[in-house]
């Protein structure tokens, strides 16, 4: 393993936040001091025993870690190929992987003396996670959310309100996640002295992509040990969905040097890549600069960001974390897509076969695993990151099927 040609990937990013040509710090001068302050604070607490001990305690007792891995035996038999295992991030407190990062950043904010927290959210999972940790630590919380997403995710909006957060609808641009991110950046610029911006994914200006990855890497670290314990070796493939890419990066990172483990990131294929209506920048976009980093983007020939489409609000984002962009270019990970229909089919399949209702985001990973498994031998293993539970999506699925709840 030490000889792996990919071992050096684990040393990234470099000091300036670059993953190859991607990442970096592309932010307004007004934010540079705050970004520098965060970089220094994280460098200090990353290796601070007391910080790490508190984080570990919170992850165990508040989040409920470690999350189990689960052998989806009936579904594997039905698909007739590789054995599918699920990393059960859906069993975390608040129902998704997002809480891992929200706890980490909130503890960092506390140590930096920032009492006001802002966040952006798409599906609402990161917003709920952030509102949850703010309630837990007694911090003020403002969540920016696209007006269209507020409509799609009413239950999560109410959850955030119950938790004491103020949810601010964003009505400019396409009224989705990217616009919520723009608005959160504007808030941060304006209130930079007392405000900590908890970014929910592995994107944004350095150090965010690294910081969020590190807080999510607990997923892959646990999974490595758990797979060895259960099957005596590492899985042959890892599959995770990708919006910004935090659950995928958290699962992939501890396996980067294990060349024999194939990595698959599954983007939101919407109505199909050929339709142009999708959210798959790694599959069909090109490099550019947005939201503080250089990465693959959905953009037109003039560099304007174009609107994305996915059935899942959490994947409906025109960019992707810069580390994924680099893993694509160097060939360490494969980036593929699953359409809305494929994701829905997998949603129903897992629900009926295993008694687990997956989030629509995670259903994209399941849909690809369902394609991959029959091409592999029965003795082989696929580990899918079940990044969230599907309760929040019940309304969306019901509406699509013409059922009024």
């Amino acid at each position: 393993m030490a000889n792996s040609k990919f071992a050096e990937l684990m040393q990234l990013p470099d000091g300036r936040g670059h993953f190859g040509p991607y990442g970096g710090v592309f932010a307004a001068e007004t934010l540079m001091e705050a970004i520098g302050e965060l970089r220094e604070a994280y460098a200090k607490y990353k290796n601070d025993a007391e910080f790490q001990a508190e984080l570990a305690y919170e992850l165990k007792h508040f989040v409920g870690r470690p999350s189990p891995i689960y052998h989806a035996k009936r579904w594997s038999d039905k698909l007739g190929g590789a054995q599918i295992w699920l990393k059960r991030e859906d069993l975390n407190h608040t129902g998704a992987h997002k809480i891992n990062n929200a706890v980490g950043q909130a503890l960092l904010a506390q140590r930096m003396g920032k009492r006001r927290i802002i966040a952006e959210t798409g599906a609402g999972q990161h917003g709920v996670a952030t509102a949850t940790v703010c309630a837990r630590y007694g911090m003020e919380c403002v969540v920016y959310m696209g007006a269209e997403d507020i409509e799609r995710q009413k239950i999560n909006v109410f959850r955030m309100t119950l938790l004491g957060a103020r949810v601010v609808p964003v009505t400019c641009g396409s009224k989705t996640l990217k616009d919520a991110l723009n608005e959160a950046m504007r808030d941060w610029v304006t209130n930079v002295d007392d405000t900590f911006y908890i970014i929910g994914t592995v994107a944004g200006p350095h150090p965010y992509p690294m910081l969020v990855r590190d807080f999510q890497a607990v997923i892959g670290e646990e999974a490595r040990g758990q797979m060895q314990e259960e099957i005596g070796r590492l899985p042959d493939a890892l599959v995770a969905c990708i919006g910004g890419g935090s659950n995928a990066m958290g699962l992939f990172y501890p396996f980067l040097a294990d060349e024999a483990v194939a990595l698959y990131g599954v983007e939101g294929g919407g109505h199909g890549i050929e339709s142009g209506e999708h959210a798959a920048p790694l599959c069909a976009g090109k490099p550019g600069v947005l939201h503080g980093n250089r990465t693959y983007l959905m953009e037109d020939e003039n560099g304007q960001i174009i609107e994305t489409h996915s059935i899942s609000a959490g994947l409906d984002y025109p960019g992707v974390g810069p580390e994924h962009a680099w893993l694509k270019d160097v060939g360490r990970a494969n980036y593929v897509s699953a359409t809305d229909d494929e994701a829905l089919a997998a949603f129903h399949d897992l629900t009926r076969t295993e008694g687990i209702i997956p989030a629509l985001e995670s259903s994209h990973a399941l849909a690809y695993a369902a394609k991959l498994a029959p091409t592999m031998g029965k003795e082989q293993t696929i580990l899918v990151n079940l990044s969230g539970r599907g309760d929040k999506d019940i309304h969306t699925v019901a509406t699509l099927e013409g059922i009024e709840i």
């Binding site: 307004a28 001068e29 007004t30 641009g173 560099g303």
Partner: protein, 269 residues
């Protein structure tokens, strides 16, 4: 000597502060932009900041966000913006034009291709809001190779060491953002601005423009007393937005507004 340097030298000799209005190219309609640029100059503008519309203007308040949206309804691209500057230059070869916007449209065109085409069109400088000095080496080299001035922002939070570092990369002038926040925001504290300008002037001989929070003759005059240039954005764009249904009235209205600012700036004690 670049057109920007030349203009600041002239103004200095005359003991005047530069007036720099900002408009977004293509707002509210592409046909309005060039006549408006001429009207701004007639009204008293010394340089023009021409905004390149972008889909995700993260550092701008609602006024300039909506200006971008209006321009993008007409699909105004960076190529179109350069064509507007080329047309402006047919009648005005003296007034410096600085493009201001976000990095991605320039990134997609390619730094060298952009610099060549912009220089050929008659552009004098570029300010990309989301490009700090840490990432700017390649872009500034391309701009310099085509004799364009890279313009950088300085913020209230920019410390002395950073000011020096930024001013080493910058030419033409530097743009001091007078308050923490987005464009179109808040109140202006002229004493604080004056104190910060002293620090900046200790680090560079470049002219210092001040923008953000200047909305009328009174605030323009206060800033003019301490800065080398007064930059007015949202207040100009607001007047354009109010006339989006009768765009024919925009040039004269803005010429009048420039005259009002100019008089207030020149009358200061």
């Amino acid at each position: 000597m670049s057109r920007i340097q030349h203009r600041f030298a002239e103004l200095k000799a005359a003991g005047r502060t530069a007036l720099i209005p900002f408009i977004t190219a293509g707002d509210p309609h592409p046909d309005v932009t060039v006549p408006t640029m001429h009207a701004l100059v007639e009204g008293g503008a010394d340089l023009i900041e021409l905004g390149v519309p972008f889909s995700d203007p993260m550092a701008d308040g609602p006024v300039i966000q909506y200006a971008s949206e209006r321009a993008l309804k007409h699909h105004v691209s960076l190529h179109d913006v350069l064509a507007m500057v080329r047309q402006f230059r047919e009648q005005d070869s003296a007034t410096p034009v600085i493009l201001m916007g976000y990095l991605n449209p320039v990134e997609i065109m390619g730094y060298e291709a952009f610099a060549r085409e912009a220089a050929a069109a008659g552009v004098d400088g570029l300010l990309t809001v989301d490009m700090p000095p840490e990432e700017a080496q390649e872009l500034t080299a391309a701009l310099r190779a085509s004799a364009l001035d890279p313009i950088f922002l300085l913020a209230p939070t920019t410390d002395r060491v950073r000011v020096e570092r930024i001013c080493q990369l910058a030419s033409g002038f530097v743009y001091y953002v007078s308050l923490k926040g987005i464009t179109g925001a808040g109140h202006l504290d002229t004493d604080e601005v004056a104190a910060r300008l002293e620090v900046i002037r200790g680090a560079t001989a470049l002219p210092v423009g001040v923008g953000f929070g200047i909305k009328d003759g009174e605030s323009a005059a206060r800033v003019a007393a301490v800065a080398d240039a007064v930059i007015v954005g949202s207040a100009v764009v607001n007047r354009m937005a109010a006339l989006q249904e009768e765009p024919g009235k925009i040039p004269q209205t803005l010429a009048d507004f420039m005259g009002e600012l100019r008089r207030a700036m020149d009358q200061r004690p």
